[in-house]
């Protein structure tokens, strides 16, 4: 199994229990590859990748090509714009490199990465592109891709995640998706899906474009809908500026952001502890306990007081911690196959918080906080690990934290005559935290009986185990005698199954109902890309990805599958 023996640096580090793992936290003053400049309502996010600052070994990030390290900075920038710069109305994404916008994911990095790393890398970059569109959709910030040079592969995929694409018309610069003709893989960071579903490029033109290594330049690219306009070099900057002016005219600039401080994390051999989120790693048994501590009592209810709390406000801090924990588990703990989700706290406090959030959702900070919570929950939906929610006395699976249970593959709730255990819904279960398929988790759960959703939402009282079971909210309700054994067996069984079969199964069962562009990217496109990432025609010794840039040529097995 040669694919498995190639390990990334990160994975070797995990294997050797070294301390340095991939860290998803950064901030603009630490960026190596991007510059974030904010001037009133205009942010400029400039790509200037440092060739030698790579996350792995054995490749250089030439021509603004990127690895996970570059994308972690981009994700951070998009996140910070939303919280630290609410005054920004337009984000211009461009490059400092002459004649090149971005050459996409680094091919040598991909060629030397393990399959699992490639898949996780692509998922994260996809989530970052979707985060840009989420910002545009929910916060009305307009993203402009100012392509000062060629945007190829992932470079064009970054552009196509923006609202508007402008290309310099210098006789040379083009947009292209050369993955199929040059590498034998797909433009899998949403490229193919966004071509036909977002920009709605005609399928035959998309077919031609996606097989044309050199791509298309200004006039034809515009005619085919691949870009919005092309401007000659002499007028390029002015044209972008004019468009920025147009968008920002009359925009309010009196909003003032909050600061996102680094999360404090304490790591030890078997633990990773944040303020509200605690991980207990059972590596031998391949599962982790992830416990979320609920909010404190008596949090402020007025928008201006909430705003003063800034990044220490529970829903922002706790969900940032959940987010970081999920990313950490995905990339740094690949053998952990199961996450046992618990909550600790007082449901009354969670419900009070949800009421405050729902009442203040028109305030920009609350809106951003809710949108962030929704993104984190979607990250959970898309995480290739099993999730069991465990509802015990002292837990607080209420409102927004009930979403953790609803996002889980199954749930266990203690049925005890001695101690009361409860779950409870809030306004936040009714829509503000949608899945990628556009439905709430309750709607997705009760596709067969949509009327149940209304019935459940209309009763805001805590539900006992019996009530929750009758309402269809939980999977199993073992009693005190069975609880421990049943959980132990369930965990053992789950972690004994084929991890690949579980990934494919969960990706199918979690996304019942409608599909959206987002779910198509993570379902149809990603699943095909993952298949191709396993095929000898791409990654075998004679595969196209393996042989790219070498004197040897790819040799295909031409049987069509």
């Amino acid at each position: 199994m040669p694919l498995f023996s190639e390990k990334t640096r990160a994975e070797r580090l995990v294997d050797s229990n070294e301390e340095r793992m991939i860290n998803f936290q950064t901030s603009p003053d630490q960026y190596k590859h991007w510059k974030l400049n904010v001037a009133g309502p205009v942010a400029t996010l400039t790509m200037d990748v440092s060739e030698d600052v790579t996350l792995g070994e054995g490749y250089k990030l030439k021509l603004n090509s990127y690895d996970l390290g570059v994308d972690i900075e981009l994700a951070d920038a998009v996140q910070r714009l939303r919280f630290e710069h609410p005054e920004v109305r337009v984000v211009v994404i461009t490059s400092l490199k002459p004649r090149i916008f971005c050459a996409g994911a680094n091919i040598y990095m991909l060629g030397t990465s393990s399959h699992a790393f490639k898949v996780n890398f692509c998922k994260f970059t996809n989530e970052t592109r979707c985060a840009i569109e989420d910002d545009s959709r929910h916060s009305g910030r307009r993203y402009l891709a100012a392509l000062n040079g060629t945007a190829s592969g992932g470079g064009y995929e970054l552009a196509i995640a923006c609202d508007e694409i402008y290309l310099v018309d210098d006789g040379n610069s083009a947009v292209s998706l050369p993955e199929v003709p040059l590498l034998g893989v797909l433009p899998g960071t949403g490229g193919l899906t966004r071509l036909v579903d977002k920009r709605k490029v005609r399928r035959d033109r998309a077919d031609v474009f996606s097989t044309l290594a050199e791509g298309l330049k200004g006039k034809r690219a515009k005619e085919w809908g691949l870009i919005d306009d092309a401007f000659p070099t002499s007028r390029f900057q002015d044209s972008i500026d004019a468009r920025v002016q147009e968008i920002t005219k009359g925009a309010p600039t009196d909003l003032s952001g909050i600061k996102l401080a680094p999360l404090q994390v304490e790591n030890s051999a078997k633990r990773r502890d944040y303020k509200y989120v605690k991980l207990n790693l059972n590596r031998e048994q391949r599962y982790v306990d992830l416990t979320v501590h609920g909010p404190e009592a008596n949090l402020p209810t007025a928008a201006d007081e909430i705003y003063k709390l800034g990044d220490s406000y529970w829903p922002l801090q706790a969900y940032r911690e959940i987010d970081d924990a999920l990313l950490h588990l995905r990339v740094n703990e690949p053998e952990i196959g199961l996450v046992c989700l618990r909550t600790v706290g007082n449901s009354v406090d969670v419900l009070a918080l949800d009421e405050t959030l729902a009442a203040n959702r028109d305030h920009w900070f609350v809106r951003e906080t809710l949108a962030h919570m929704a993104r984190v929950l979607r990250r959970l939906d898309l995480t290739a690990k099993s999730f069991f929610a465990l509802v015990e006395p002292g837990s607080c699976f209420a409102g927004n934290l009930l979403e953790l249970l609803l996002a889980s593959d199954r749930s266990y709730m203690l049925d005890s005559a001695d101690v009361q255990t409860s779950v409870c819904v809030s306004e936040l279960n009714a829509g503000p935290l949608p899945m990628s398929n556009g439905l709430s988790r309750l709607q997705s759960r009760f596709l067969a009986e949509p009327e149940r959703v209304d019935a459940i939402l209309s009763n805001r009282a805590p539900l006992t185990t019996e009530d929750a079971d009758a309402a269809g909210l939980i999977t199993f309700a073992p009693d005190d005698l069975d609880w421990e054994d049943e959980l132990r067996v369930a965990i053992e069984e789950r972690t004994s199954l084929s991890p690949d079969a579980l990934t494919g199964m969960e990706a199918s069962l979690r996304f019942a109902g409608p599909e959206t562009m987002d779910t198509k990217i993570y379902g149809r496109l990603t699943a095909w890309q993952n298949w191709i990432f396993q095929r000898p025609n791409a990654v075998g010794p004679q595969g196209a990805l393996t042989n790219y840039g070498k004197p040897t040529q790819a040799q295909f097995d031409f049987r069509r599958t």
Copy 2:
């Protein structure tokens, strides 16, 4: 690349240029595994698989397990019911084996098949299940799965493709999807998708059910929505009969079907010729010319006269031939990567035919013919080969045959000053031949400009190359001087690309817009299954599929991907 060196018998035959290839034509008198019994409005389709009559070597079809040969018979039976038995209102699918309905796809067959064969096998079985649902949806025939014993894996997947599922309650019989826990693969014949999208089983219950090797019996299976009812052995047959009575009460039985005679095919080294469909195989260059000859002039326009033509009526015969040609190319010509589609004939005759079909669509035979044409075109959409439509003088890409062009990945139309070439739309381009996504091919093509669809449909005159280009119906319009060279280069380029990357790309670009249960099965579920079918955890020397039924146990690489 050990996966590639394992070849199926069929593939070895292709390699050695032997004459015997997999034949998709059969008829009830030749069935080895099924019995089709029709009594008035009731058809009974009984599974009684002959263990030793296998398509490949090295396995026995025990416990009503199936290989492609078994499913070819099922597909034939469903097809014949529609044309030969329009009087049938209900189809009971059951088994002659005691205590077992069907054990699903034969695991030893899967374990010894090449990747490409597994994928093609699954696609065909999926198309057969979808054909059952198509019959139910469009022709109102009701399918009852009468599970007289355990239905596991593909056996339950067959049941779940039916409208109603009844299980015998004998203390032993269960429904189950043991693929994940026992084989490390997915219930990929629509199983996972139909669980949550068709039967709308709650996702946590679907999770439990899909990881429970032994499955669920009567009461719990009904409670969870996996079956519609369970009856004790003593009442089983009576209960099925009663339900059949209920459905067929008052059904008209005066319809009389037509006979589907075997297609006549002439094979030679490089050709495969039907009456209307001609294949010219350029194996060295890895492409095939597929030419469809249009209908004769002056075909009848009245329903009773059409009906008298039976299976020789052009739209039925030509599309049956296209269907057989596509299946042949998929399975017996794996190295052919590109299909060059041509038509020969008179557009006026095609348009006249389409007018007749549209005018008589309420007649059962015309309705069935149209539904069949739509299924064949969907089979084309789902075929993992590239399609180029070539529009030359003397062609007849009009109406229903224009769908071949619209289904192609791209099209080339000659632009000549000397000879006129044209394409033309008809009523049949407006909806009666929908894609799996529920849209017409014109709607899918013009997602960006839906108003174009109406404009195109409102002009029923033949369009010159210039007009067709302006309307957006064709991709390229080379002139006489360039035609030959441009095509030669396009063909050479296409067949030089990675066949896997093309499959993934086409599967993404062909299905823009909404997704349906069908497209989710062929997109999300199938793509994940194909990925798993490449993973060492399933098919490697230590994989679960490889080691099933052996004294050795599967050993997993537990890294989650």
